[in-house]
């Protein structure tokens, strides 16, 4: 299995050079890795169907006890095979579709191979986190694939929306995985599946389930997240044929099927999956029926198909699980074929409008045949495999433990709509006369037509010999999902009469709907528009709201004058430290010593300096006022018994004032700080806050008289009387060395800046 992953990954690396080198011959080479994977899977089939299948693992991150583990069993085999087979066909198709543009084809092939690697990894993963990694990788690849060719703004928004929805859902799923792995005490899927009871009894079950469902539902386009899929129809047709029929959108379904033994069976599972699936099925079918754009119609029927599958998984009986798997395979076959057909139509006529395409059957007979067969499978006409799927689905719904009648009715309506859509896609564009649609004269290349034809033929083949080809695989897969099928055959020889009547009725109702399409559309216009547009509107509205809030938030730190920033920082510091300190209550004011009169005078001097610094009109005056503060503080130090400290303080301050004055002489800045009540109040508040904090912090008796110890040491250790100097050049000489380095570096920088300024003056 590692080999399969490696094969596709290497194919991704070499696709671009291969296309450049081989030109048109690339069609023979590009699908080879996919064929290789399919062959590999084929040879491993017997082992895979046996019991729990094949498991392989290598340690990934030892420190986190993560293993890169893979598992191939019936369930993953089915999905992996779809990835490989449809991938190979899509690449053949694409080399016809992108003919003449080997650059585009190269990029498409590279991205498709990379996507296939991710998708294959996803379905083979045997570890939640490995699965997640591949899961997100599929989202990114799909974004890049949609972006290959883009036309309108609309399309770009669609692509972004698609990635945002699926990516966001993925992150939710990741939390779900973390919770699940905590509940089960393992992230290995194989182990986890055996600990279903443990998981279901855990208190983490509900949050984990909801988060994982968010991931699965976003990826598999369930209501209300379905809106991204029609938006993704901006992608080129081969992309849709691959991603939006059989692979990407099936990831969510696969995840639900995979985790069914661990998460299933609790009532929450049935309830959510049942309701979401049923609503999605109906909404998708109704949306599809109202579409004029054929490609979007197919996207909408995909939504309906995914809803059907989720509903079946929600029912959860052995019959329902079996029906779900058969339906997934059948749906992949006909939907990929139809996407390709619509792509060819679009390419040949430039149209995708079902109301304008007419009478193409005569000029494109082979395409007509292909489309017709695929559409018959979609409608569920025997002897195609679609008919089997439909009967199985009806059987499962009728056999549901709860509300079988409602389910059958909902299914009937949705299926009738699907039949009508099948007629619209497979028959309508090819018959009738109407205004002749212009067809480009060139004959469709074989590469373009062969893949959908093959897919359609497979549908016929499986329909005839389904028991031999499909039954063992489906049975093994259902067993892996924790259910025991009652019979080995897919279809009982004598289907219950209700089922066969329902199937026949659906066909009839579908044809009736097709005939009275315009009338039916007129009736249901509002409803369909709501379903199609509503959630997308909501999405855009939400994003708009987020953007509005965001620009408010960004304003807080954008283009503020420096003073405002200082105020914000000051307030924050007071709040943070104040919370920790003042909550415990302030200590009493240290009252053992009454300050002397001259101390009051000095304090008043400092305050006066501060006030005049604030209110002075010129920068120079403000700087001098700052000097007054410095001198006042220095004098206070002197009086409190620190002559050396006072000396240093005054010296540094004088120097700073001089330097600032020199700078001011040359630059003449303007004082730009506003002096309003708010500013003054904030400044006072921060100042007062700091005073309180200092008061709260100092007097709790822990202060040690370091100064005394230092002055005692200063003579015996360094023979110096100026304690500040002794500290600088002796006790902490290395730190002074560091300071000198700072000065040196600063000097170099200043020189560079000055040179830059002078250069500017010269030019």
């Amino acid at each position: 299995m590692f080999l399969a992953l490696l094969l596709l990954f290497v194919a991704a690396l070499f696709a671009i050079p291969a296309c450049r080198r081989l030109g048109r011959g690339a069609v023979w080479v590009l699908p080879l890795p996919f064929v290789g994977v399919a062959v590999l899977l084929g040879t491993r089939l017997p082992d895979a169907l046996h019991e729990e299948g094949i498991r392989q693992s290598v340690p990934w991150v030892r420190g986190l006890s993560l293993d890169f583990a893979l598992r191939l069993d019936g369930l993953s085999w089915l999905f992996a095979m779809l990835v490989a087979v449809i991938g190979a066909l899509v690449l053949v198709h694409a080399s016809g579709y992108f003919r003449g543009d080997s650059r585009l084809l190269g990029r498409f092939a590279a991205l498709t191979s990379l996507f296939a690697t991710a998708m294959l990894g996803l379905v083979l993963a045997d570890d939640l986190f490995v699965l997640f990694v591949f899961w997100e990788l599929t989202s990114i690849c799909s974004f890049l694939l949609i972006g290959l060719k883009h036309e309108h703004q609309d399309a770009r928004d669609g692509a972004l929306r698609a990635l945002l929805v699926t990516g966001g859902g993925g992150i939710a799923m990741l939390i779900g995985f973390v919770l699940l792995s905590q509940a089960a005490d393992t992230s290995s899927i194989s182990v986890l599946l055996q600990r279903g009871d443990l998981i279901r009894s855990s208190s983490l079950y509900v949050p984990a389930l909801l988060l994982i469902l968010a991931g699965a539902f976003t990826k598999s386009a369930q209501v209300p997240f379905h809106y991204w899929l029609p938006g993704a129809m901006a992608a080129p047709a081969p992309v849709s044929a691959y991603l939006h029929s059989a692979t990407l959108v099936n990831a969510g379904v696969y995840l639900l099927a995979r985790l069914h033994p661990a998460l299933g069976v609790r009532p929450e599972w049935h309830w959510i999956l049942g309701h979401v699936g049923a609503v999605t099925m109906l909404v998708g079918a109704a949306m599809a029926f109202g579409q004029r754009d054929l490609k979007r119609m197919l996207a909408d029927t995909t939504i309906a198909g995914l809803g059907t599958t989720v509903l079946l998984l929600g029912i959860g009986t052995a019959t329902a699980l079996r029906a779900a798997l058969v339906f997934v395979a059948v749906h992949a076959l006909y939907k990929a074929a139809l996407f390709m057909v619509v792509g060819i139509l679009d390419k040949r006529t430039g149209l995708r409008d079902v109301d304008r395409l007419r009478g193409l059957g005569r000029s494109l007979p082979l395409l007509f045949l292909t489309a017709l067969v695929a559409a018959m499978s979609m409608a569920g006409l025997p002897p195609l495999v679609g008919a089997i799927a439909k009967e199985l689905v009806y059987e499962a719904k009728l056999g549901a433990p709860e509300a079988p009648g409602v389910l059958a009715a909902v299914g009937f309506s949705a299926n009738a709509l699907m039949v009508a859509c099948a007629v619209l896609v497979g028959l309508r564009p090819f018959i009738g006369r109407g205004e002749a649609t212009r067809v480009e004269p060139a004959i469709a290349p074989v590469a373009l037509l062969l893949p959908p034809a093959l897919l359609a033929t497979t549908g016929v083949l499986l329909g005839v010999v389904h028991e031999g080809l499909m039954a063992p695989l489906i049975e093994a897969a259902v067993r892996v999902m924790g259910a025991e099928p009652a019979t080995a055959e897919l279809l009982a020889d004598t289907a219950p009469t209700a089922v066969s009547w329902l199937a026949k009725g659906t066909l009839f109702a579908g044809v009736v709907l097709f005939v009275f399409r315009s009338r039916a559309l007129a009736w249901s216009g509002v409803l369909r528009r709501g379903a199609r547009r509503g959630p997308a509107r909501l999405h855009d509205g939400m994003m708009g709201a987020v953007a509005a809030v965001a620009s408010r938030v960004a304003d807080v730190s954008t283009r503020r004058p420096v003073a405002a920033s200082v105020a914000i920082v000051g307030v924050a510091v007071v709040v943070i430290t104040g919370r920790a300190l003042v909550l415990g209550g302030l200590p009493p004011f240290p009252g053992d010593r009454v300050p002397a009169a001259h101390e009051f005078v000095l304090v008043a001097l400092v305050l006066a300096g501060a006030a005049s610094a604030v209110f002075s009109r010129t920068p120079a005056a403000a700087v001098i006022a700052l000097g007054v503060i410095g001198v006042g503080t220095g004098l206070l130090f002197l009086l409190l018994g620190g002559p050396d400290l006072a000396l240093t303080q005054v010296a540094v301050d004088a120097l700073a004032v001089l330097l600032l004055l020199l700078v001011l002489r040359r630059t003449r800045p303007v004082l730009g700080v506003r002096k309003g009540w708010l500013q003054g109040g904030l400044a006072l508040a921060v100042g007062a806050g700091f005073m309180l904090l200092t008061w709260a912090a100092i007097p709790d008796g822990h202060l040690r008289p370091v100064s005394q110890q230092l002055s005692e040491l200063s003579w015996p250790v360094a023979y110096g009387r100026n304690v500040v100097n002794v500290i600088l050049v002796d006790m902490r000489a290395l730190d002074t060395l560091g300071e000198i380095v700072v000065l040196t570096a600063a000097a170099i920088g200043v020189v560079a800046l000055l040179r830059g300024g002078r250069q500017e003056a010269r030019t």
């Binding site: 997640f132 990694v133 990788l137 973390v178 938030v553 920082v569 510091v573």
Partner: protein, 483 residues
């Protein structure tokens, strides 16, 4: 005081060599081609590059273990010394294509870079508040100058001044705090302070105050809200190589010192800080997550993105465990590669006129698929999307945080913000792939730049798939903090 020089060299070997390199660069500048602009610049740049690479290589010969009064060379310090050296080398790479936009001071730029790196390396070894402050001064003062490096541009001057004022303010808070710590414990040394802290039931108010003030000062370096306030303007105004260096180096300085402060100085007592750190983390995530959305300038955008990453680092810091410490080390390395690649792309796309509007990357996929690929990788890694390294970094942080029941709300919130930030990174991808180019000029990518971009991209990719070696190094570094 007696100083054992050989022991000193054992601890500060990297710093000594960097200092020497700095001096050599000054002398080279003076000796080679007097007065001309390009001659000395080329010589100095080549020499600086060679020297830094050599010292980086030599740092792998060093064995952790030396410890002294002023610093320590544990594996944590060594990890970060290598990190800072790599950052400096990458910054030189970002600066190379930028250089011809400088009208003067081309030779001094690498010299200044070497001196800041010296400061950063010193900081990663600091086990003493004085060493810490001296190193911080060296880093900050030089960065002020590097931010205002193009005095002819008003924006650059504005950036410098804003940076100086707010930087000085926060440094002042910090010194004030250090004074209180010293006053209440009688020591500058981390180990002794830690002993005092953990000997008591509840911390005395003075010590609490002092430590919180130090935290504030470091929050400024890290870019934690509300001390992030300088980031958008300074990132935008500074020359792009400086911004690149600020975004990685300066942030990592905050990380190193906060980790020492929280894990070593506070030790078990750091549990008291969970609320403060978690609160800061939430605010920072919110600002980073939302603030980036309306940005239209690339460097400003990356500034906000950096704030958001600071938020994730704070989440890890609030989680007081060895696993989270290891996650932080892993995180910063992934951030280094992704960010440097992004900044180099910015330098290249704004080649002539230094205009960094987001329009510049429109349609990049068609103009240069290589640059588009690099930028995509980098953005996806920053967004935390697998299989890129950034995803794994976030994963490790959150996995460690989930284990702490008190932080579950924070984990949920940070994931919400991760989705938000996914949105803006995707908007960048949309510009790359789905917009038509505004500027269709030829993008010249020198061989060196190509190599650096390739290296960063491969690292982001490789560490996303095979994390083992980096996880191991990160764990070794982290565990030395807890001894």
């Amino acid at each position: 005081m007696n100083i054992d020089t050989s022991q000193l060299f054992a601890i500060f070997g990297v710093e000594s060599l960097l200092g020497l390199l700095g001096l050599v660069l000054i002398v080279t500048d003076l000796l080679v081609g007097k007065g001309r602009l390009t001659g000395p610049a080329t010589a100095v740049r080549t020499l600086a590059f060679g020297g830094l690479v050599a010292i980086f290589a030599w740092s792998f010969v060093l064995e952790p273990g030396a410890e002294g009064a002023l610093g320590t060379l544990d594996s944590f310090a060594l990890f970060f010394k290598r990190f800072f050296l790599a950052t400096a080398v990458a910054t030189l790479g970002v600066a190379a294509p930028y250089e011809d936009r400088l009208s003067a001071g081309r030779a001094e730029f690498p010299t200044l870079l070497v001196f800041t790196t010296l400061g950063m390396c010193l900081l990663s070894s600091a086990n003493d508040f004085v060493t810490l402050f001296v190193g911080l001064e060296l880093v900050t003062v030089v960065l002020f100058l590097m931010a205002a490096y193009r005095p002819q541009l008003p924006r650059s001057i504005e950036a410098g001044i804003k940076f100086v004022v707010i930087g000085a303010l926060s440094a002042a808070f910090m010194v004030y705090g250090i004074a209180f710590v010293y006053g209440t414990t009688g020591s500058f040394e981390f180990s002794q302070i830690s002993a005092v802290i953990n000997a008591q039931e509840s911390l005395p108010a003075g010590l609490k105050f002092g430590l919180l003030m130090v935290l504030v000062g470091l929050g400024f370096k890290l870019g934690a809200v509300p001390f992030h306030i300088w980031i958008p303007d300074v990132y935008q105004g500074a020359p792009t190589p400086t911004t690149a260096f600020l975004s990685v180096g300066s942030k990592a300085v905050g990380v190193v010192l906060l980790m020492r402060l929280v894990y070593t100085v506070m030790g078990p007592a750091a549990a008291q800080w969970t609320t403060v750190l978690a609160g800061l983390a939430a605010l920072t995530l919110l600002m980073g997550g939302l603030g980036a959305i309306p940005q239209t300038e690339l460097k400003r955008f990356l500034g906000y993105s950096g704030i958001s990453h600071a938020g994730f680092l704070l989440v890890a810091l609030a989680t007081h465990s060895e696993a989270s410490a290891g996650a932080i080390l892993f995180y910063v390395v992934t951030y280094l590669f992704a960010n440097m690649a992004a900044f180099l792309v910015i330098v290249i796309v704004s080649r002539t006129d230094d205009d960094n509007h987001m329009d510049r990357i429109n349609g990049l996929a068609n103009r240069s698929p290589f640059l588009a690929l690099v930028l995509t990788t980098s953005m996806l890694s920053l967004a935390g999307v697998p299989p890129f390294a950034g995803f794994f970094a976030k994963f490790m942080v959150l996995r460690a945080a989930v284990a702490e029941p008190a932080l579950v709300w924070l984990v949920a919130f940070s994931l919400l913000m991760a989705v938000t930030s996914l949105y803006y990174y995707l908007c960048i991808l949309k510009r790359i792939y789905m917009r038509d180019a505004v500027d269709t000029g030829f993008l010249e990518i020198s061989g060196g730049a190509r190599l650096l971009l390739l290296l960063c991209m491969l690292a982001v990719f490789a560490f996303g798939i095979y994390q083992q070696p980096l996880v191991q190094a990160a764990e070794a570094g982290a565990s030395s903090l807890f001894r």
